[in-house]
């Protein structure tokens, strides 16, 4: 995925007789579909299938537990959602979250990756520690964070000591601090994952480029700016895209952290939460399906936009 010039290990293909080549490619194709089959099957069964079902359901008024007959309602669910102020609050919160998390988390992950890429002792241990939050179940972590973020919790005692009591926000119940709390916890959890991707990319940047740069007398910043960043460009694009997608499916944190779920006065209500509450709380599966479809369209549009803005280098 990185822009590596010519890989020393890959020699130019040997000229082979045409027929053998084609047969080779055909068996390659068979092998490829063999490898694809399990994943494709599961994706079809658990992602594509349910999604098509969601599109169909979104045009009905199916209720979860109800003796009333289900009816086609056309685009009524979509009309109702678009007219619902809470849905727009949810979208706004998702966008706010994405705008905060994507740059902060990417920069932090990049900084961490650069740090653990240096030849220091025990770097494997450090890498593992940075990666630990990723393998922690978010819900479990959020429960712990909930304790840390109480008004008298550990976070506030540290903050209070540093700022002499000037900054001790009520993280979980204040309309202004609830979203930052969710952002904080999300970055803590997500940065390690991106660090690993960026680290892999960093290791793929050819060292002769660095050698050339140092011979040319480039400063460290210049090296970073003109060799490291272009070298890991594709990985960065990947990370930004994935983080944006993940930012939109924000759910666990907003359920567990603030009071009530959805946040003080809807400060952390998100589309996912809206969908689950509509479908399971209010039992309107039809409308929840419509939210799912809208969610898909929004994420697809944003991803397409990003693809258009940042072209990956070949």
């Amino acid at each position: 995925m990185t822009a590596t010039p010519i890989q020393p290990g890959i020699a130019p293909a040997q000229p082979t007789p045409r027929r053998a080549g084609r047969r080779g490619r055909r068996s390659d194709g068979r092998a490829a579909s063999g490898f694809l089959a399990p994943g494709g099957l599961l994706l079809g069964l658990f992602v594509v299938g349910p999604f098509i079902a969601a599109i169909v359901l979104s045009l009905t008024n199916w209720r979860l537990v109800s003796p009333l007959p289900t009816q086609w309602v056309g685009l009524e669910n979509y009309r109702a959602i678009i007219a619902d102020s809470q849905f727009w609050i949810a979208i706004r919160n998702n966008l706010t979250f994405a705008v905060l998390v994507v740059p902060l988390q990417t920069i932090l992950a990049l900084a961490m990756a650069v740090l653990v890429n240096r030849p220091v002792r025990g770097r494997v241990v450090i890498r593992t520690i940075y990666f630990l939050p990723v393998v922690t179940v978010m819900t479990a972590a959020a429960v712990i964070w909930r304790l840390l973020l109480t008004p008298d919790g550990a976070v506030n005692s540290v903050l209070g000591t540093i700022t002499f009591g000037a900054l001790e926000p009520n993280w979980l119940t204040s309309t202004t601090a609830a979203m930052p709390a969710v952002v904080l916890v999300s970055i803590w959890q997500g940065a390690g994952f991106q660090m690993v991707i960026l680290l892999a990319a960093l290791q793929g940047v050819p060292s002769d480029l660095y050698e050339a740069a140092s011979i040319d007398g480039a400063t460290r910043w210049q090296t970073f700016r003109h060799i490291t960043v272009p070298g890991i460009r594709n990985a960065l694009i990947f990370v930004v895209t994935v983080t944006t997608i993940l930012a939109f499916r924000l759910y666990d944190q907003v359920v567990v952290l603030p009071t009530p779920a959805g946040g003080p006065r809807d400060a952390t209500r998100t589309m996912m939460l809206e969908m689950v509450q509509t479908g399971f709380g209010r039992q309107l599966i039809g409308r929840a399906s419509a939210i799912a479809v809208l969610f898909f369209v929004i994420v697809l549009a944003l991803t397409a936009l990003q693809r258009a803005l940042f072209r990956e280098s070949p």
């Binding site: 995925m1 290990g9 994706l43 658990f46 359901l57 009905t60 008024n61 199916w62 209720r63 979860l64 537990v65 003796p67 007959p69 289900t70 009816q71 309602v73 056309g74 685009l75 009524e76 669910n77 009309r79 109702a80 007219a83 809470q86 304790l147 109480t150 008004p151 979980l172 119940t173 309309t175 994952f193 690993v196 680290l199 892999a200 990319a201 290791q203 793929g204 990947f238 994935v242 997608i245 993940l246 359920v255 603030p258 009530p260 779920a261 003080p264 209500r269 996912m272 689950v276 509450q277 479908g279 399971f280 709380g281 209010r282 039992q283 039809g286 409308r287 929840a288 799912a292 969610f295």
Partner: protein, 483 residues
Amino acid sequence: MKTTTRIGALMTAIAITAAGCGSDSAPSAEEPAADPTPTTEQAGPDTTDDDESVAAEDVTADGSTTGDAAACDGEIDEPVTVTAWNHAGQGNEQDLMTEQIADFNAGPGAELGVTVAVEFLPDGTYVETVQSAAATGDLPDALDFDGPFLYNYAWADNLIPIDSCVPDDVERNLLPSILAQGTYDGELYSVGTFESGLGIYASRSVLEENDIRIPTSPRDAWSAQEFDEILRTLQAAGFEHPLDIKWYYGGGATAEWYTYGFSPVIQSAGADLIDRSDYRSADGIVNSPEAVAALELFQQWAEDGLIDLESTDDLPFQEGTVPLSWVGHWLYGPYEEALGDDLVVVPLPDFGEGSVTGQGSWNWGISSTAEEPDAVWAFYEFLLSDEQQLRWSSTIGAPPATQSAAASSELFGPGGDLEIYIDQLSTSSVARPQTPAYPAITESFGAAFANILLGADVQSELDRVADEIEQDLVANDFYPATN
């Protein structure tokens, strides 16, 4: 080496992303809260009634099971195994239920040829599990469910009426509140095997030191003004936030605590969650001036720091830093252990029309797919026997469901520490509204209550609740009778 690291990382990335995307379309189990959405009227042509969508099939298949659902005939024809679902419960509830079922299977069950095979399902996702199973017709013969959802299941014909199963003497022995909770549309659908109730737990010595009157029955409960002064007195006496309201219960999965625990505030003021005469409107009821005034007072207490909005467990009351705790019967055990004889339970304050408490808890019904309701009922009757009732109430601390058990209980009987709960249940408790709209009501009111405590405008929050309840009613054609 470098290449492999890179590929490995990529594969991980793709795997995690794929897994992530997958979970997008599969909502995990969750909760109610508030949100106003315009109504789903039948915008589509009404003629497309039974469409060919997956949903329609399920619903129709479900509805059609009602016609041939069995009723009790008083006989168990052959040995049967009753499948049962039970919520895992808190503390030792699951252990006790396991023992009770083993005792039933070894005793009366063995005589009747009935074996109960129970499956415990986690609390947090119980409602969603049951709802999904109900939607696909996969319910077990016997199941328990929390009060809020009973009317939904009854309306959807997932449960059968059990009037034919309950012998008269057993029915007469049930607390009126149990019958009230189990009744929908004139028929009995479920029985609770224990009751519930609210009270303010207090430290007797702290109240006495501060010359605070200790009420002994709901008739002489503190008035709201009196309670206001009490809170201020205690704050002045050095308790930073004198009233614990279990604020932390509401943070995670459910808003039901806020509705169960604090709808008595507006009910005591003369308002209610919905118009109970026909269950077709909440406007002018839940957002009436009385409800607004009562909750504005509550909001004032929160604003003045009289309410503890910081605790994340029960320790402050147990350790004596918070002298009053507004909570249900379930904390009697831990509180009694911490405070001993100093613990006193008083009724909730009177906001104008008399002290009110909630009632109702988990209750058992018989699903419409059960083939031998008599066998299921035999199990329920066992749970309602005095012996099992006392065993449950003394271990769990919940008020018994039958009058005979209540009378002979050490805790809940005459002179017992918790006699007040039985007193309240027979005089001043209010059942949850008996409508399938209750899940929407609790979701909406619970969130509004939280917002109000956090400073939101009371009138506009309650207007929103009324509006959301209205929307739910309209979206379900006002829950017409389906039989």
